[in-house]
Amino acid sequence: MDNIVFLFLRRMRQPLLTLIAVYTVAILGLILIPGEDPQGNTWYMSIFHAFYFVSFMSTTIGFGEIPYAFTDTQRLWVTVSLYTAVVAWIYALGTILSLVQDKTFQRALAERSFARRISRLREPFYLICGYGETGQTLVRALTDRGQHAVVIDRSEQRTNLIQLQNLRDHVPALSADARKPLHLQEAGLPHPACSAVVAVTDDNETNLKIAITSKLLHPDIKVICRADSRDVEANLASFGTDHIVDPFDTFSMYLGTAFHTPCLYLLQRWLGGEENTQLEDPVYPPREGLWVICGYGRFGKAMTSRLTKEGLQVKVIEARPDITGEPPEGWVKGVGTEAETLLEAGLDRAVGIVAGTDDDTDNLSIVMTARDVAPDVFVVVRQNHSENQAIIDAVNADMVMHPSVIIADRIRVMLATPMLHQFSFLAMHQDDSWACELISRISALVNTKVPALEELLIDRELSEAICEAEKAGEQVKLGEVLRDPWFRDRSLPAIVLLVERDGEYLLLPEEDTDLFIGDRLLVVGAKRVFSRLQWNLCHGAALEYVRTGQVQSQAWFWRKLKRSSGDRDDGSDTAGDKE
């Protein structure tokens, strides 16, 4: 905070001293040199007059010679001091100007305004460290859901991107090294509203440092960290990092799910996908036969161990085993972009191929060559850069592994909808037919777009109608609030996936499940459903209508009137109002 003041004072010391010295010498000269008044008497300039004269002389304003015209000696002295004083002023002003343009000074100013903005935040926010592809996807997803984020990245170019990206919420960004605890503190790590720290820089060491700093300075905070290697993962886990996301392991886990329970895999993809994108088609990776893996990097290793665990035959093609380490028995040397290498690895009898090098062009080339040799082969391709999206889409692979997207999707689910995380966990223990049935139910709700997913908390503030019903001693059922408040015979196109009540979870609750205050619901459905659902929850008359089919009178007067005439009229006339 005080950096700027001190920096300013320290830099101004020299010019100010020069100014004082020049002024003093000039004033001294003026008061010591004798002058002559119009009557020819000798006079000496007073200190006050000398100061006044030097003040306007040195700033080149020049009001003339006071109080009497100067003698030549005085003029000589004034000439000398005039030039000296002007130079001293230029020196002082120049120092101020260069200080304002100084990078250090500007950074200090930016840091200060950033820290002040952060300390004023009142709503919960997430601290995102690293604004690469993952960070950008994540921040967009979070702000689209009305959540707040603060970004810290080493590169100024990337943080400047935020202003161009047209995000829904203002995202404060600091371009500083996140490895320094001071910068994390400035970015709001100790702030009580900071609810999670996400370390998604492209450097393992940096992520590690961020995670350990966060755990030490704010132990209660949730820390989510990206890690690419086993060592770092073990290290992160050792001090209690809440979630460690390894894109390669995550993908190989997805593949495992797709092997055994294709419907469950599809369900996860649908629910975890980004809203309003096209729904994915189911994939059925072949479970018997030979798989060819090109590239034995981190991804290749994860895939090899997964496929071997599934009992499949694996052949690895690797160009630089000296860097990646020796692949398992029977590997082939090469990149895999030539048909010869692929044939040597046995592609003509293979069922699947993994194009997993860290070069997108190589991967695409592998896929195209492989399709020439074996047109029906199952293709998994690794995408390294977002800008290659169009060509990766064009090659139409069966599965695409894009690390940034995988990490961003997983973290988004953890932060925005933690209940979905829980749901996926519970769904793992169900069999595939259960997932298939749910898939068909969801696809009936929405046509081809990824459905909206929301967590709803039934509390006293937002669900007033439920509170009133509870007070009146009535028990609201889940199926009742899922009816259309405009037309109760129609049910809302939504499915309640999970109910959390007192720390217990109810998977796919039935329609006649009781609803209590304090329940948390995970609802999937078309986007427009949620506003109607909110009507049922918070508006007494709407809830009354969907439950009983009767329209309750709103105002106190009408209710009185109705009660007094209740014997004659059973309220059937009001039901007609609704039509």
């Binding site: 320290r10 010391r13 100010l16 200190i47 007059h49």
Partner: protein
């Protein structure tokens, strides 16, 4: 020996000594307090203040504060002098002289504190 410290100490002590020189004498006798001396005190105090800029320590902050106080007092004394001599006053009457000298006396006190702090800091340094 740090030359920066020498200059620093020199100006702080000089500010005190000059201030004292101006202050001694009969309080209302203009002959005992020359205006050139006041001028020198003001200049040296300004220099001492600027030298204290940009020190982040607690001691530096208090040193700067005492200097600012001394400057304020001296500025007031100078203004009184200017008004009395040039501003249509009656010149340096005993009343005016007494108020100028007493204002510089306040500055003297601030300068004494400044020097005491400097000594304390030096003693605590033990190097």
């Amino acid at each position: 020996m740090n030359p920066e410290k020498v200059v620093f100490g020199f100006f702080i002590v000089l500010a005190l000594t000059l201030n004292f020189g101006f202050f001694v004498g009969e309080i209302d006798n203009p002959d005992h307090h020359h205006v050139y001396e006041l001028f020198a005190v003001v200049v040296v105090n300004l220099i001492a203040t600027v030298l204290k800029f940009g020190d982040r320590s607690q001691m530096g902050a208090v040193l700067l504060a005492t200097s600012l106080v001394a400057n304020l007092q001296l500025l007031a004394a100078s203004i009184v002098w200017v008004v009395a001599v040039h501003g249509g006053g009656d010149g340096l009457t005993p009343t005016v002289t007494a108020s100028i000298v007493s204002l510089s006396g306040g500055a003297l006190l601030a300068n004494v504190i400044s020097v005491v702090l400097l000594i304390i800091e030096t003693v605590m340094l033990r190097r």
